[in-house]
């Protein structure tokens, strides 16, 4: 355990070195969210509500989306891909360390760091837009939301890791990566609440696990998911299942890596 704690700490140090770029990327997200808010505000001039979302629901949805983008969604696949492609992955093959656990720790440390930074922005925004925000009315909802965020973050990591280790089989994963990542985030509800889509799309999105990354936690926060236990269970099963699949995939990938001689 000690070694992963040190990995966590060292990556935290590293993140500190990058606080400038992190702040800029947060500002970029913020800008994106502000444009969307402006757009929705315009739409709500003529509509009372869309689906079961009031204007303040949607504003809350996007502010939370800002938080989730920093704390839940994972963006480590490009680093993993580069390590595998350029051969620095060898450093891990010779050391007593598990690559999956190693990257889980790095990601966790990075997400918490970013979360700390985004919280400041989020609180300021929430203050400015206080009148438009739907807050949970009880502690249970807040706890449910926090738990859903944790599950979502683990799932997001697992999927991103899976994209990363595709590099064992494909020399250039970048082209795939953007396609997969974009599709994944879309199905997660990062762009729009999933229940605003046509029925067929909703059913597909519901059958897939990506919704647990964005849509599900925000629904809980908005008080629209008061009995989230079934969701927790399904997400939990996905997490465990994916864990074994990833360990297996990693093993297979290493066999390929060994053969290729990078």
């Amino acid at each position: 355990m000690q070694k992963y704690w040190t990995v966590f700490r060292v990556n935290w140090q590293n993140a500190l070195q990058y606080r400038g770029p992190t702040a800029i990327s947060i500002l970029g997200n913020l800008l994106h969210i502000l444009v969307l808010l402006y757009l929705w505000n315009a739409i709500y001039q003529s509509e009372q509500s869309l689906g079961d979302y009031s204007l303040s629901d949607l504003i809350t949805y996007y502010i939370l989306q800002l938080l989730i983008n920093s704390m839940v969604l994972s963006y480590i696949s490009w680093q993993i891909g580069t390590e595998i492609r350029e051969g620095s992955f060898s450093n891990f093959l010779i050391k007593p360390v598990n690559y999956l656990h190693y990257w889980f720790t790095i990601n966790l440390s990075g997400k918490l760091f970013e979360g700390l930074m985004i919280s400041v922005v989020g609180l300021i925004m929430a203050g400015v837009l206080a009148d438009y925000i739907t807050l949970p009315d009880n502690l249970t909802t807040a706890l449910h939301f926090a738990f859903a965020m944790i599950l979502g973050a683990i799932l997001a990591f697992e999927f991103d890791f899976a994209i990363g280790i595709l590099a064992f089989w494909l020399v250039q994963i970048d082209s795939f990566k953007y396609m997969l990542q974009y599709g994944m985030f879309f199905l997660a509800g990062a762009l729009l609440p999933l229940d605003l889509f046509p029925m067929l799309f909703q059913q597909i999105a519901h059958a897939l696990p990506f919704r647990f990354m964005v849509y599900f936690p925000i629904r809980i926060f908005l008080g629209k998911e008061t009995q989230p236990y079934e969701g927790f269970m399904i997400a939990g099963l996905w997490i465990v299942g994916l864990y074994f699949i990833l360990q297996f995939g990693l093993k297979r990938g290493i066999t390929r890596y060994e053969a290729a001689g990078k």
Binding site: Q2, Q13, N14, A259
Partner: protein
């Protein structure tokens, strides 16, 4: 028991031709053209504990491939190897804690952090206890003169400083076997010297078994008594560096400085002339004829200085590499 035992090790690379772009990657999922390259061919050797042995060979000879197999980074096509009683490619945790590989062209230090952070990380990855760690670190910092660099971000260090730190990072867990792959590549003469003397004293001090590859002759000449010469994937020589020239070179070099100017053209009755001018001459003479020709030279010419020299090791190596026909079937 020997520290490293390699028997009949082979590695054939199967590489696949791939086309660029998304279309290429998709196509690559279903169909690929396969190419084969024998990087290591029936290699056998063994190293005793505490030996410092040099691996010599040109680029692409298979040195790195061999080291990678012995580190468990690569899986061999066939053959066996035992390092400290472990089969390297099984990557047993107990093996990983006892060896290290330093690759001059790859780094493990965190680029944006001071080396001290990477050292701490390795300490805990290898589970070195804090006191041993501090002691080992202090010792190496002293030997390599790194005192003031530990808290400077790696990206601000020079290549030589970085290489020294890479060495330290790899040795913190006090490996019993150390593989060094081109540790002095790209370094200036002073840094090269520093690394060399460090490796030498480290090997003496800790009785660490060291297998070193380099294509800088000086590395091998100064560090290793025994060399393995590898070319086109196979070992062509295994033995002391000193007898390498006896085996491959059948001539010596005679250097002459004349006491008074001679004719600018070389006399036609002398064989083996490589260089000739009014004041100097250089001859390449078969070993068994050296005495006789030296005698003749001393009689025929006014000679101020004459020396008989062994061919330089570098020249010997070049000979070995040129001798073998190119058999690459890539």
């Amino acid at each position: 028991m020997s520290a490293i035992e390699v028997r009949n090790l082979n590695k054939t690379f199967k590489t696949q031709k791939k086309e660029a772009g998304l279309k290429g990657s998709l196509k690559g999922l279903f169909w690929r053209e396969t190419l084969y390259k024998e990087a290591v061919k029936s290699v056998s050797f063994s190293l005793e504990e505490g030996e410092l042995v040099g691996f010599l060979g040109p680029n692409g000879a298979g040195k790195t491939t061999l080291l990678k197999m012995l580190s468990g980074i690569l899986y061999p096509t066939s053959g066996e190897a035992q390092v400290l009683g472990f089969t390297p490619w099984q990557r047993h945790r107990d093996y990983q804690r006892q060896f290290a590989i330093v690759m001059g062209q790859k780094n493990q230090l965190w680029w944006d952090l001071p080396p001290a952070e990477s050292f701490l990380l390795n300490r805990d990855i290898y589970g070195v206890d804090h006191r041993t760690f501090q002691y080992t670190l202090d010792e190496m910092v002293e030997l390599l003169d790194l005192k003031n660099l530990l808290n400077i971000p790696v990206r601000q260090l020079s290549l030589g400083q970085r290489m020294k730190c890479e060495l330290v990072a790899s040795l913190l867990h006090q490996p019993r076997v150390l593989f060094l792959d081109e540790p002095t590549i790209g370094l200036d003469v002073i840094s090269q010297e520093k690394i060399r003397s460090f490796v030498k004293s480290y090997n003496r001090l800790k009785k660490t078994t060291v297998l070193l590859t380099s294509h800088y002759m000086q590395d091998v000449e100064q560090l290793c008594e025994r060399v393995l010469v590898i070319n086109h994937g196979g070992i062509v020589y295994d033995g002391p560096l000193t007898s390498l020239s006896n085996r491959y070179i059948d001539h010596k070099i005679i250097k002459i400085r004349f006491a008074e100017p001679q004719s600018a053209t070389a006399p036609s009755n002398l064989k083996g002339i490589v260089e000739w001018d009014k004041h100097h001459a250089l001859l390449k003479i078969q070993k068994k004829e050296v005495a006789q020709i030296t005698h003749k030279l001393l009689g025929d010419f006014p000679i101020e200085d004459l020396s008989v020299e062994e061919v330089e090791v570098e020249e010997v190596i070049r000979r070995i590499f040129e001798e073998r026909p190119d058999t690459e079937n890539f």
